[in-house]
Symmetry: C3
Subunit: 207 residues, 3 copies
């Protein structure tokens, strides 16, 4: 039950991450990207974070190498972007909500996987966050831009908060599914509030 | 026989990838690169794709860590670039042919290695392509440029076509060496035709 | 004894690398980085090189995933930067010395770990260098800058010289601790001399 629940949410998250990556290529200012670029950027965005988590943990086989469904979810996301680009960009707000749900789920699943590998709490929190944000980091780096996590309103920090909550509730022996929902919800809430009120962390400047 | 055939072609491919990476550093517009940069860029270009494939598959030890000959092939390529830079840049057309042969071989060898790890067909095709293109992607990212696969005529797509053909012929139980030659040839042909006639994939633009 | 010696030096090196990464984010020209960016950049700089070495070797669990102390050393470095930014930037010269000591230690420890995995000498030398420099390379790439190893006075080459000396002395059955100190000292000396006299490797230019 937990598996199927988080599994299908995970597939939906993969598809949404693909769409966000593919539209980033579409909207790139300096270059007109071709069909392949749109696919590849979507693919990297969708699997980058989870792949980095898995190879850091030695968690083989890596998810998309093991489970072809992940690649089909990416393919569907890619098809939506190239066949219905205007619809996709109009649905920007809905996609934003989905993306936010996606990072919430990714964060807690990543934290869970790290814990299951016997990893210490600090590293588990970081690996949860890395699962959620690193696909986008790699996407932006390949697009030759400063990664969005260095520019946007609170994003990665929301993930960190969610994975810390997951660890605390896990320590208190909270039921697994409940913990997944509560902790992912924290990520979503922080992120929504941050975007709604344009909140960022304090900036540091010394020069 | 298959081993020795693909092995020596593979070493030649490594050397050519090194030369292409090292000359990219040499020709960089904004920075005059020193001897180390030329070596390092060549090294990264040559081993980047295969290393990423191996760590994604958990295929240890990684090829250049296991087989010192790969590093000597890189070293020879590096020496050619720093000792005979003008000759190397004059041989641009010949190198282009070699590079094209290299990506053809890399693609099918990468696909083969993925299949041997029991990986599904979709992921094997992607890992074959990643073997061939990712050294160049890392090279361009380190040079602070948009990766060539997002700019050039059909390149990664030619690799994908070759790995798909390899998978189909493999499914039909085509003899292994023959399949290697035929599928790599497809990559080479598509690439040569694309460059000759300046063909690209359809570009997408919505804004 | 060897463990504890190199272990505590290693933790100090981690902290200094964190500080160097975090201050790079602080001083970034175009973007004012927030607290999270400063932490994340410090974290990546500190663990990037060792993590890449470990996943290339299949050396699991990766150091910071296994040993929480590494993450606490990073956290202390991060706190120093955000609480005492002016002190940290005034101590620039002292930090430079520490950073230099850090790359010396990282280089020989990385070379040692590779040898312990039965890796050939050429690859061990490269993996020692990668341990020392790649955190900074990833940091600069994420900051959307050409990596410092392509710009600075002799840096990576000093690491290579140190790992080659380590391999030679190891071949001659030099006592392990003595070798560690002598080889790391070579890295430090070459680097200090290079910075003092503004020495670079010969540059290549053909156009």
């Amino acid at each position: 039950m937990e598996f199927s629940f988080s599994y299908y949410i995970g597939l939906a998250g993969i598809m949404v991450f693909t769409i966000s990556g593919a539209t980033a290529a579409l909207e790139h200012k300096e270059h007109h990207h071709d069909v392949f670029s749109v696919f590849f950027t979507g693919f990297i965005t969708a699997i980058g974070g989870g792949t980095l988590r898995d190879i850091t943990l030695g968690n083989y086989p890596v998810s998309w190498v093991k489970d072809e469904n992940i690649l089909w979810a990416i393919f569907v996301g890619f098809l939506l972007v190239i066949l219905l680009p205007k619809v996709v960009t109009k649905l920007r707000n809905e996609l934003f909500l989905f993306d936010t749900l996606g990072i919430g789920i990714y964060t807690v699943l990543g934290t869970r996987i790290a814990l299951d590998h016997g990893v210490n709490a600090f590293a588990s929190a970081l690996l949860g966050m890395i699962s959620a944000i690193f696909g986008g980091v790699i996407r932006d780096t390949l697009m030759n831009e400063v990664p969005f996590i260095f520019r946007k309103e609170i994003y990665a920090t929301a993930c960190l908060a969610g994975s810390v909550l997951y660890l605390v509730l896990n320590e208190w022996e909270c039921q697994a599914n409940l913990n997944l929902i509560v902790s992912a919800s924290l990520v979503v809430c922080i992120r929504l509030v941050a975007v709604r009120f344009n909140l960022g962390l304090p900036k540091l400047k010394i020069f």
